[in-house]
Every structure is written in C-alpha cells, then in structure tokens.
Amino acid sequence: MLGKTAASLFWMSRYLERVENSARFIDAGFRISLTRSASASDEWSSVLKSSGVIAAYRKKHDDFASAKVIDFLLRDRDNESSVMAVMKKARDSARTARTALTREVWEATNESWMTLKATMAKPVKEQDLPETLGLIRQQSALVRGATLGTMLRNDGFNFLRLGSFVERADSTARILDVKYYLLLPSVALIGSSVDNVQWETILRSVSAHRSFRWLNGTDISAQAVADYLILHKQMPRSLTFCYAKISDNLNYLDENYGRESASGELAQEICNDILSRPIEAIFESGLHEYISDFIAANNRLAAQIEMDFNFQDRIG
C-alpha cells in the first residue's frame, strides 16, 4: 500500500472521529447552558479549550454567547477545526484513499459530507441543535458500520482503526486535561450537587454518563470518574481501551509486514508505563501532569506511526 494511502486512511478516520467528538462536546456544553445558565460561559470556554480552538474564537468574539459558540464550532469559516471543515478534510482524505476503500465506506463518507453540508448551509437554530448533533452522530455511525461491515481486514483497515483510536485517546485526554481541577480531591465535595453536575458533564462529553451508572450505581466520586475514563478496560473511550486497540492494530501490521516497528514498541511502552498505574498512584503523583504526559506520549506515537509507515517522503 502507498504510504500516502495509509496516511489518508489514518487521517480520514481521525477526522471522522473528531467530528463525532465535537458533536459530543457541543451537546454537553449546550446542556449546561440550558440548565445552568450561570456557568454556561465557563462551560463553553472549556468546550472551546478541549477542541483546541479557544485562541481562534477569542480573536473573533468577546463573549461566550451560546449561539456564537455553536456556530463557531459547527460551521464558521474562520474556524479550521469546525465540524464542517473537519468533515471536508475527512472526505478529501477519503477521496485520496478512494482506491483503498470499499464502495460502501466511500459512499457513506460522501453522503455524510453531503448531508451535513446541506443541514449546515445556514446557521443552526438552537431549537434544531439536538437534531443536528444527532445527525452528526448518526452519520459517523453509518461510516463506522460500513467500515466494520465491508472492509477487508488488511493493512488499510489497520490504519483506519489506528486513526480512530489515536484521535479518541487524544480527545478523552483533552477533556480530562481541561477539567482536571474538578476531579481533584481538595475541590471535590462528595455529594455536593454542584460537582455531581460537573462530573456528569464530563461523562456526557464521552457519552458515558449512563454506562458509568450501570457500573457504579449512583456512587459518583472524582476518583471513580477519572478511573473510568483512564483505566477502564471495557469503556470504549477510555485511554486504556484505546491503547489496547492501538497495540492490536500495530501488531497486525507488524505481522502482515513481517517486521517489528518502533511504533509497536512505543505503544507497548505507553501501556506498560503510563496505563498500568493504579488510579490512587495517578492522583498522588498529580492528575494534571499525568494527563499532560499521556497527551505528549500519544502525539509521539502518532509521529512514530507516520515515520514507520512512510506517510511522507523523508529526505535522505
């Protein structure tokens, strides 16, 4: 497979994952703005931070009015990371990798782009927002379904999966990074309704508020939330889950290509060093530092994958 094709597949699924995560962030922020208007600005500001676009937003707007934030995140042309801009990049990547995709995956991606483009041709009214966000999640599910249902389990499939999980791990870590102070024991007054709502927002941003309750009942604690998002093996957006998948897919690639790659080794290292610590130890050594370390390690892995599989031409 061409290095460029591998890169396009990797990025296509990163972008699609990003689109879906943005929809979740917006959903969580929107909920807060409806139910607790006093803290809406804070919430929108942290949504913009988690999405990495706070600086671009500040250049354009002075306040965090819901309508402005929503439009900026969904479709503003000044925002390179808007849902529409990222969806366009996903579709361009899919076109570049067209020959490595099944007709079903390509058509699902193309239709997602067409559908979202039509839906977001004009600013989305607040009353239509839940429906629009639902549509984004539904379109992502269609592409994922087509991928799982029709793609040959070859190297191309592995690059698609790697892109999804590297992006997802990054996204979950960013939420934790932006909200870490809410999870610190000194701030967390167990049982206080303020923090319950905040924690619930964190869980909602990763669509885990219900699954968390199935597993923990109503016993919400900061440590339990962090444990769930970082270490839980069955929670599909936890860092540990993502890395299990990343390791698997790198192993398949190594097997397929008959060699051992540096990225496979690095992923293993991240599993052993960072993701094997108990949650108590993580809190003891500092949640914030821990998350920062993880984000940096995840970025290093992405760069290593790019190197190992010749995404670009290296001089020399």
Binding site: L2, K4, M114, N310
Partner: protein, 465 residues
C-alpha cells in the same frame, strides 16, 4: 434515432417498442434516481475557476444511443486503421521523418509546434507504441456517414462514464437488457490492465507493476483516475509518491520503495518532469524522462504523442492514413480550412457566420466560435482575434449532426450527439470497446457536447449480431 427520412433506425426498433409500453412517470422517477446515484457515488467532475460549485454532475440521460452490429463493424474498422496510422506517424516523426521528406506534411507544422517534443527524437518506446489509449471523437451526419472530429491521442478521458452509464442502466432497467442483447463494456478495465502490462519496459522483472498517475483530487477528472486504478487493482499515485531509486521510478509504500514498470499518466507532457520539461511543475517526477529513455519505465501514452492529435495537423490526417497504411481512409475527415493559409483564411473570414472556428491547441470546447449560434457581437470579437493570430485557428463547416432523443420534462426531444469510442493498443493488437461514450448537447439545437460546457452523456449500445 430517426434515419434519413423519418423512419426509426432499425437498431432502435426494439428499444422503441419497449419505450412505447413504458409509463412516463416511471421514467421521470428513474431519471431522478440516476442523478442521486451519481451524486452519492461521487461521479462528479471539477470545473476550473468555479469556487463554490466546485464539483458538478455530468447530466445523464436515460435514453440509450443504439448502434447496430453492422454499423459498429464499419466504424471500428475505420478507427483501427486510423489508430495504426497515428502510431506509425509518431514513430516516423520522432525518427526518420519520411513523411516530411515526402512533403506530405509541411515541416513548419511540426518544427514550430509546441506539441512536438524534440526530446523524443530517437527514443524507442517499449513495443514501439506511442499512443496506448485513444478516444476517437466521431460524429454522424446520415445513415452511412461518419466523420472523425478529433483523435484524442494524448490523454482521452470519459471512459469511466462509459462504464458507469452502463452500470446505471443495468440497475435501472434490468428488464431492458433481458429483452435486447447489448455487447458488454465491463471488461474494459481488465483489458486496459493487460494492455498496459503487455508494454512493460526492458528492465521489468517478473509481473509488471502498473500504476495510474493523477494530478490529485482537485483535478477535473480525478474521479476517473481513481475509478480506473480501483477497477484495474493498481495503485493511484501522485508525483510526490514517486522518486527515482536505482535508475527506476519507484513509489513510496508503507514497506519502502517499489519500482513501477508501466505508468498510465493522466497529466500533460509539460508537467511530467520538471527537470526535462516545465521546471515549475509540482505534479511530475524529476528525472522520470531520463528513466524512460533508458528503458526503465513505460509511460502511457508516450510523451510527445500530442503532435498526432494537434488540431493544426488534423486536416492532414487523410494523407497520414494513406501514407502509412497504403489504403484509402475508411472514415472521413471533416473538411477543414487552415487559417494559416491566406486563401483559406479569406474564405473563413467571409463565412464566419456559418463555420465552427477552433483554436489549434484548445480543448474542452473552450475558445471556439460556433458561427450559427453566435451573436453578431461575438462574431465580430472573434473576427478580430482571428485576424490577429490566424495560424492559431482552423475552421470547419457546421455539420448536420445526427440527433438522438433525450428524456426531458416534456417527453422525448432530439439533441445533437457525438461518440467517443475507446481504443487500446498493445503489441498484442488493437482492441476497441463496443460503443464508447456518447456525449449529448443538452440544449436544443446546440452543437457543443463538452461536459465543461454543460453537455451530458448517454449509455451507448452496440447490439449483438
């Protein structure tokens, strides 16, 4: 569909019987379905210079264009003869130039022509083949009269539409194909791959590695490039995927560099190699031409083939066919006035309102004047351009092009069409896919069928014997 006089051409009889029994509403619904299908599949083309509507659909018409087996035999014989002559001409023009010595083609026409590549002189392309893939544009003016309009010997496009049009028709009207036996087109990609592989260069070891070279996703024909690579099961590469490794052109894969034997390039000569041609090109591969000359890669079509389909040479095609085949041309050329010649220019200026005037190097229907359809002002403006740079133009009569019905909101209505059959050339012979791409002028009375000018397409049927 109607022949000379008003009888239904025999080839259309079965289709017409079927159509007469069809519900118009169903056809309208099918027509809308086809459009949704094309959009979903991404069978679009990009239009240069139009930012917003950057991807457009080529209108597809549900009424097929039908040719009988006999008509097709006649056409394909004529095309084969012409293609053989073109390859012989190219070999000659880049070697001994006998045709120039014989005075059958004026030397200035070659020497001063941007499509002539002096770098190709003395180069022997693998298998002696210059143009591997050709799309000959044909128009019909009567029951037995076919003319060749253009030879498209460099990088003809449209074959993906031929294939997708048939797929679409099969999906929409399966019962029609059960009733009427139509010759297959779906084996084209397989034939293309075999045909390219048969032209592998000396340095090829083992099974030839074929790849398609595209300028990228923003090119107007990107859909076709990816379609062909996909259907052939070969890699679709861009210039930045390639570099010269150990005297071969190699593509960067996830496991390192792999040599390519045959490159079906869909970029123009100028952009192929910044070291040997246009120095600012970002699309090509520095040094590929040197590898080519040393027998390290086959480039299809060969660099420099454009000299054969240059509009300035078009009027010499009957001589070229005769010179190399020793036979009378089976297909006619459209009478052509060369504006470079004084007497002919005078005639053209006098009859501008009746003629089609084309730029010698233009393509895609840009920069041409269709006299009968142009306003007085347009004719005047064109006259000025023509006088200013006469040798840049040729002129042809507006032919009484045959029409084929299309399905409009108000029912069937006649439109002018042309036909582009696709020809493959390899050392194993010449093969022509039955039918080709029928392009249709969607506006009533219009003669311009180019998709960049709003033209549409139809499925093209060649009936079984």
């Amino acid at each position: 569909m109607l022949g000379n006089g008003d009888h239904v051409r025999p080839a259309y009889q079965d289709y017409k019987d079927w159509l007469d029994g069809e519900d118009v509403k169903r056809l309208h619904r099918k027509s809308a379905e086809a459009e949704a299908f094309f959009r979903k599949t991404g069978i679009t083309f990009n239009v240069y210079g139009q930012d917003e509507a950057d991807e457009r659909l080529i209108p597809f018409d549900v009424v097929p264009r039908v040719l009988s087996a006999r008509e097709w035999r006649k056409l394909s014989k004529g095309i084969e003869q012409r293609v053989r002559a073109i390859n012989a001409f190219l070999y000659d023009i880049y070697h001994r130039q006998e045709i120039l010595r014989a005075g059958r083609v004026p030397i200035e026409l070659i020497a001063n022509n941007a499509a002539f590549l002096p770098q190709m002189i003395g180069v022997n392309p693998p298998g002696g083949i210059y143009t591997h893939i050709i799309g000959t544009d044909i128009v019909r003016t009567g029951d037995e009269e076919f003319y060749v309009l253009e030879d498209n010997a460099r990088t003809p496009s449209g074959v993906s539409y031929m294939l997708e049009n048939r797929e679409t028709m099969l999906q929409m009207f399966p019962e029609l194909f059960a009733k009427i036996k139509v010759q297959e087109v779906s084996n084209y990609p397989g034939q293309l791959r075999r045909s390219l592989a048969a032209c592998a260069p000396q340095k090829c070891e083992g099974k030839p590695v074929v790849a398609v070279l595209t300028p990228g996703i923003h090119n107007s024909a990107y859909f076709e490039h990816s379609f062909l690579a996909d259907q052939m099961g070969v890699e679709l590469v861009e210039g930045h995927d390639l570099k010269i490794v150990d005297g071969r052109v190699a593509m960067r894969t996830t496991e390192g560099y792999t040599a390519i034997d045959v490159l079906y390039r869909r970029i123009d000569d100028d952009y192929l190699d910044p070291l040997n041609f246009e120095p600012h090109s970002m699309l090509g591969v520095p040094g590929i031409f040197d590898v080519y000359r040393s027998g390290g890669i086959t480039i299809a079509n060969a660099p420099g083939t454009g000299i054969a389909d240059d509009k300035a040479l078009y009027s010499y095609m009957p001589d070229i066919v005769e010179f190399y085949t020793g036979e009378k041309p089976l297909l006619e050329n459209v009478p052509t006035w060369r504006c470079s010649e004084k007497d002919e220019l005078a005639y053209v200026l006098e009859h501008l309102e009746e003629l089609v005037v084309k730029e010698v190097h233009g393509s895609g229907g840009y920069g041409m004047l269709v006299g009968p359809a142009a306003s007085k002002k347009e004719v005047a403006a064109f006259r000025a351009k023509l006088i200013d740079n006469a040798s840049n133009y040729i002129a042809q009569p507006t032919l009484a092009l045959s029409t084929v019905p299309i399905f409009t909101k108000k029912g069937l209505s006649p439109r002018h069409v042309d036909l582009r059959p696709f020809v493959l050339v390899s050392p194993n012979g010449i093969s022509i896919t039955p039918g080709g791409l029928t392009r249709v002028a969607m506006t009533k009375g219009s003669l311009v069928v180019n998709s960049s000018q709003g033209g549409g397409t139809k499925d093209t049927w060649v009936l079984e014997e």
